[in-house]
Every structure is written in C-alpha cells, then in structure tokens.
C-alpha cells in the first residue's frame, strides 16, 4: 500500500542551521559581519583595503579556490586575515566559516568581513551568519550585470560600483546601468574609487549606520 509521509524539509537547512550558530557567536561578541561578493577582479580586496583605513578592529576571512594572494596583500597593509581555499567550490558556505572561526581569535574584533569567492552567481542566498551583504560591480565589467545576474543584486543591502574613476576610459554608460539596476533593486548605490577617499567614506558611513541599527 502506498503511504505518504508529510515533510517540510528544506534542502538548505543544514547550511542555514550552522549559519544561525555562527550568527549567535557574532551577536555574543558584538561583531558586525559583512559578506562581500562580486565577480573576479571587480575590486573586492581593494575595497576591503580601503575600508580598513576607516573601520576599526577589522578582521577578514578570505575565500578563493586556491592561493593566499589576497591574505598576503591584506597582511602587508596591516589587516588581519584568514584564508579559506575551497579548491573547487564556487562559493563559501557556513561549514567553511565555522571551521575557519576555530582558527581565529575574535578578541577585540568589531567588524568581520568575509570576502567571498569571485562569482556573481553562486554566493547569492547562501547564509554564512552575516548581518549584511554587499555586492561589488566595477565600471570595467560593462553596464549589464544587474540584469544578467539579478539574484545577487536582489540579495544585497547595497551595491558598490567600483573603479568609478575609469568610467570615461571604458565608456561606461551610467544611465543605462542605473536603469538596469533599478529594475532589480532599489537599495543604495555607492560609486567608489580608491583615488577618491570621500567616496570610500560614504560607504563606510553606511556600514557604520547599518551596524548601529542592528544593535551590534
């Protein structure tokens, strides 16, 4: 006789349960965690280097398939960081963050930035225990990424348009970009360049504001 068994089993439950535990650890220690996403070469590491000049007590968890290039870069700038190599994984998951945290001293940390694997597809919607998602998109990537990769833009609390100083050189069509972006998300957009410290400051102010609002 055929019987039916009712379930409500989420396929992302295992990851999400671990992410919740990670969130608890951050909440207990008043650490504000930001998941920084974006395609390869869009400027995530540079953005984090710039943030480190304004955000106090920063720690970075770096995610790449291979190498420790970015961790070394950050350490040279005096930013403490920890490297996760996924080997073939296309995004970080909660289990990887859980394992990384076992090797990290969170004493005195106010901001924990997770630099996700360079990828505009897979990191979207994956819970890591973060409080906030940022997606970076550079002017050198063309003006169509929000329309082509909507999920990651929808999933983010703000969009960072990087390398803005190269706008003219690559004939970036800002009007078209904004039109496309608006169809997908109405969240704040920050146009930044490492050559314009004021632009970085605006993003920093937003982050601090979000931290204050979250009660961390």
């Amino acid at each position: 006789m055929e019987i039916e068994i009712k379930l409500d089993s989420s396929l992302t439950a295992r990851n999400d349960e671990i992410a919740k535990e990670i969130s608890k650890i951050f909440d207990e220690r008043n650490i504000f965690c930001i998941n920084v996403m974006g395609g390869p070469g869009c400027g995530k590491t540079t953005f984090i280097e710039e943030l480190s000049q304004f955000l106090p007590n920063l720690f970075v968890i770096q995610g790449d398939l291979k190498s420790d290039i970015d961790t070394k870069r950050l350490e040279e700038k005096g930013v403490k960081s920890f490297q996760i190599n996924t080997h073939s994984g296309c995004h970080l998951n909660a289990h990887m963050i859980e394992e990384a945290l076992k090797n990290i001293n969170l004493e005195g940390v106010d901001y924990l930035l997770i630099e996700n694997v360079g990828n505009l597809v897979c990191p979207a919607g994956v819970m890591l225990g973060q409080h906030m998602n940022l997606v970076l998109n550079s002017v050198t990537e063309g003006n169509d990424k929000p329309e082509k990769y909507p999920l990651i833009f929808k999933d983010s609390n703000a969009v960072i348009l990087s390398k803005y100083d190269l706008k003219e050189a690559v004939e970036f069509n800002e009007e078209e970009y904004l039109e496309r972006l608006n169809k997908v998300t109405k969240k704040p957009l920050f146009k930044i360049s490492k050559k314009d410290k004021d632009s970085i400051k605006q993003a920093v102010d937003f982050i601090i504001h979000e931290k204050d609002n979250s009660g961390k």
């Binding site: 006789m1 055929e2 019987i3 039916e4 068994i5 009712k6 379930l7 409500d8 089993s9 989420s10 396929l11 992302t12 295992r14 296309c90 995004h91 597809v121 897979c122 979207a124 919607g125 999920l151 929808k154």
Partner: protein, 85 residues
C-alpha cells in the same frame, strides 16, 4: 546555481526519511521549488536521474516539482511502500 550539491542533499533527506518511516522504497518525492531560490528544475532533474541510480530506496522514485513564490527549496512529502507490505 550548483544543482548537483542540492540534488545530493535532496536524495540524502529522502533516503533518511524513507529509512525512518520503514519504507522499502520511495515512489514519489514532492519538491517545492521557489522561483527566487536560484535553482533550475531542469538541472535538478538531470542530476536526480543520475544520482538516484546509486542507491537502494530511490531507484524508481519519481520527482514531482511544484513551483512556489519565494526562495525556499524543500521536500514537502514523499510516498512509498512500507516494509512488509
């Protein structure tokens, strides 16, 4: 998105629930797929058909997918024959 990993998890859960409920085999798996989940039905089916052959409970299981709003992806029920029937 990476349907291979999520489909493996689907089969793992179905197998676990079949064991828990003393089923001899699973006939149907009902999957609710959120339109904002980032997962595509075609890709899940592709891996499902391949991966189900690797086990015991699921060889003849049929996957029934219902679309839903939101971003969740979950098994809402499974059907099968109880052991000893």
């Amino acid at each position: 998105m990476h349907e291979y990993a999520i489909t493996k998890e689907l089969l793992r859960i179905a197998r676990e629930k079949a064991k828990e409920n003393n089923l001899s085999f699973v006939k149907k798996i009902f999957l609710e797929l959120g339109v904002l989940s980032g997962y595509e039905e075609d890709s899940i089916r592709y891996y499902f058909d391949e991966l189900k052959m690797g086990g015991d409970y699921l060889r003849s299981a049929e996957l029934i997918v219902n679309e839903s709003v939101g971003n969740e992806i979950k098994i809402t029920s499974i059907t099968g024959e109880k052991n000893g029937d």
